[in-house]
């Protein structure tokens, strides 16, 4: 336990002025995102990360140094993951009659999301590291980073792939719902949350608060479920 606290303290105290790149970049990203009417393709991460990457490259700053300098932000990821319990707990009360369908959808959807990329990844004959950095793509970023770290994948890769999955998810979801005539916004929300995590949930809240609530449930439960099955599964069968 004391070692664990020392380790975390070290991570925090490693922070340096280079963290300003992240904060300024985020400020610019949020500004552009709001200016673009919160369009998913103007997501703050899509705007800020190329700018920061370019700045590091031009100023000849080593990425490893920059990453270590953001210790306090990386440390906060743990706290943010714990905080996800709050919206989840507010939404999962009073749903007793719907539980069987919700649980079934999350269990099957979560398994299928990870299983399908595992199969496709193997079919494409991708590098083991690339596959390990891909399987958690449907899970909300803080949890996806934890899973990927446990699996030995690259957290620098999974964050981008999670973002990409969310954008693809919200683009394809609406036509699919229309085609299969799934009109109930509660189930649309749940599916958006399981398949497109926070980006899907944002989209769901745009439709209606009810849709957003179900998306929050889908995202939260899938994060828990995927961690539980994916880490043992990949240790047993992974590359």
């Amino acid at each position: 336990m004391p070692e664990l606290i020392m380790q975390q303290w070290q991570q925090i105290t490693e922070s340096s002025w280079l963290i300003l790149f992240s904060i300024l970049g985020f400020g610019v990203g949020v500004f552009v995102y709001r200016r673009c009417g919160k369009h998913p393709l103007s997501h703050p991460l899509l705007i800020s990360t190329p700018l920061i990457g370019l700045a590091l490259y031009l100023l000849n700053i080593d990425y490893v140094d920059y990453y270590a300098a953001n210790g306090v932000l990386n440390w906060l990821l743990g706290a943010a993951t714990v905080a996800l319990a709050v919206p989840l707990s507010l939404q999962i009360k009073n749903l007793s009659s719907l539980w069987p369908v919700i649980l079934l959808t999350v269990l099957i959807g979560g398994l299928f999301a990870a299983g399908s990329v595992l199969v496709i990844g193997n079919w494409f004959m991708l590098e083991p590291t690339a596959i390990l950095s891909l399987v958690a793509k449907s899970v909300t970023t803080p949890i996806a980073m934890i899973i990927t770290e446990q699996l030995g994948g690259l957290i620098t890769l999974i964050t981008v792939l999670v973002l990409f999955t969310g954008i693809i998810g919200i683009i394809v979801a609406e036509p699919i719902f229309t085609f299969f005539n799934l009109q109930d916004e509660r189930w649309q929300g749940l599916i958006l949350g399981v398949s497109a995590h926070a980006i899907g949930t944002l989209k769901a809240f745009e439709k209606s608060p009810r849709c957003g609530a179900f998306s929050t449930i889908g995202m939260g439960l899938n994060g828990i479920w995927t961690t539980l099955f994916l880490i043992p599964l990949m240790h047993a069968f992974g590359p």
């Binding site: 993951t81 319990a85 590291t129 934890i146 394809v172």
Partner: protein, 96 residues
């Protein structure tokens, strides 16, 4: 941490514990919410350091990137279709 052979990462275990505590009716949720919602609203900031790393990947991984994106383009719609069909087949969507 290792528990009955299942590996549960610390932050997720913390989330589960908090979830269990919050399910018991109390004022705790109202007390935590101002802080937690602030953290969640600005979550993207916390992903920036790792996300920037995507521009500094090894050449070996970089060549795989188009295939990784293609895998997602195939897998994500399939996942949504599977869940949509599942919900329709349970007829659960009909009782509003």
């Amino acid at each position: 941490m290792l528990w009955t052979g299942v590996i549960i990462p610390g932050p997720l275990l913390g989330m589960l514990l908090l979830l269990v505590v919050l399910m018991v009716p109390s004022q705790l949720a109202n007390f935590i919410q101002p802080t937690s919602s602030h953290l969640i609203k600005n979550l993207s900031l916390l992903f920036i350091p790792a996300c920037v790393g995507a521009f500094f990947l090894s050449a070996q991984i970089n060549v795989q990137l188009p295939m990784l994106l293609l895998a997602i383009i195939i897998s994500t719609p399939l996942t949504i279709v599977v869940m949509t069909l599942l919900i329709i087949s349970t007829k659960g969507h009909k009782d509003a």
